[in-house]
């Protein structure tokens, strides 16, 4: 067992974990943060995307021990004071989901993308989301949702991700 201390969605946590425990397992099984989901075995789908020290990562491909001392933001930490993050709002507004399974990862990656590039072109959005697979939507409404969020202004985008 290895002792880890980290911040998850603004709260400090500490636990003894097995070194082989994946970050996604830690979030879901130890902390009950089941908003972050697992969609594959190969690190291809992006459903498990969270932010580690402000940058998006696939939490199925990071060990919990590697996150020792880090700040993690999950989909559950994006909303502030009961109001949705602009990107969450835009996915709802533009119907950027159907079954919703890819959505937590899509939103976390979209927030990262907009943090880096507040005014992306359609192509930049599609490339920026290349590590996130969606089985339902055909991506069009997801792209529209990111464009919508960008149009609302970068000042509101990323507020949760910086936390």
């Amino acid at each position: 067992m290895t002792r880890i201390h980290l911040t998850v969605d603004g709260a400090s946590v500490a636990d003894d974990v097995e070194p082989r425990m994946l970050l996604v397992q830690y979030l879901r099984e130890k902390l009950g943060k089941t908003g972050t989901v697992i969609g594959c075995d190969t690190s291809n789908c992006g459903a498990c995307t969270v932010h580690l020290d402000g940058r998006s990562v696939k939490s199925c491909n990071v060990l919990a021990v590697q996150a020792d001392g880090a700040e993690v933001t999950t989909i559950e930490g994006l909303s502030k004071n009961g109001s949705l993050h602009q990107v969450q709002e835009s996915f709802r507004e533009c119907h950027g989901l159907q079954c919703g399974f890819c959505t937590p990862g899509m939103i976390m990656q979209s927030v990262d993308l907009l943090n880096e590039n507040p005014n992306p072109s359609e192509e930049e959005i599609r490339l920026g989301l290349e590590g996130n697979l969606c089985r339902c939507t055909g991506y069009h409404n997801i792209v529209k949702a990111v464009q919508h969020a960008a149009a609302q202004g970068s000042s509101t985008v990323g507020q949760g991700a910086q936390a």
Partner: protein, 284 residues
Amino acid sequence: MIPTAFDYLAPTTVEEALSALAQHGDDAKIMAGGQSLLPVLRMRLNAPEMVIDLGRIDSLRGVRDDGDAIVIGAMTPHFEVAKDPLVTEHAALIPKAIEHLADAQVRHRGTFGGALAHADPAGDLGAPALALGAQFVIAGSGGTRTVGADEFFVDLFETAIGEDEILTEVRVPKHTGWGAHYEKFVRVVHQWPIVAVAAAVRMDGGSIAEARVGLTNMGSTPIRARAVEAALVGAAPTDDGVRAAAEQAAEGTNPPSDLNGDADYRRHLARVLTRRAVVAAAGG
């Protein structure tokens, strides 16, 4: 899937990492960004008893100027390498290759040294490193040694790094003012190339003065297309101007056959992609 149980060390200096390696020998595995290692452990294709994480060794991260070369720390993540001003100015081929390597999440974790040490013949960084004549600095208990790109890549997933050694940094000779392009042919984005071509050219008075060309996935290691390089000298930077030189791209290669394409198809791709890469690198 979950890896089999292992012990874990996160040293903060190269010396500590080397002594841990010496102590645990064959049972230990180095972890850089984990983006290739963790999938392997999760599939249980490998089951080390000890994982030595280099992620806390600050001295292995970053890019510095060293006269006629830039030096890239092995643990510098792909996204940092790609936007580093020294790299963009003096080794523009590297950011071009990283742009289409994996996806944003993987580029945030995966490292320059990890990708090269992994030596996947379909990996995107080997051909650029080879084309630019990179030198690999390898630390062991007896000190450090430097290995040229020609000797570094030994075979499939095999490099000159010994079992008790660590790749610490990669020196890339400056190619300031050279045009560069990485032409990658894939079936789906964010995956490894079926074939890719890395090209850097120095132009002089409207024609190609010097060229460096590296091939990805045309054999068990990255390959330098020296016949193409020689034939490009003096060529006009147009489709027609480079066509004859590019025709030699598959010479001396030994490409694999798999579900993505057979060896002949890959040879064809190497010729076409070389032409495209060189023309694009020359700004044509």
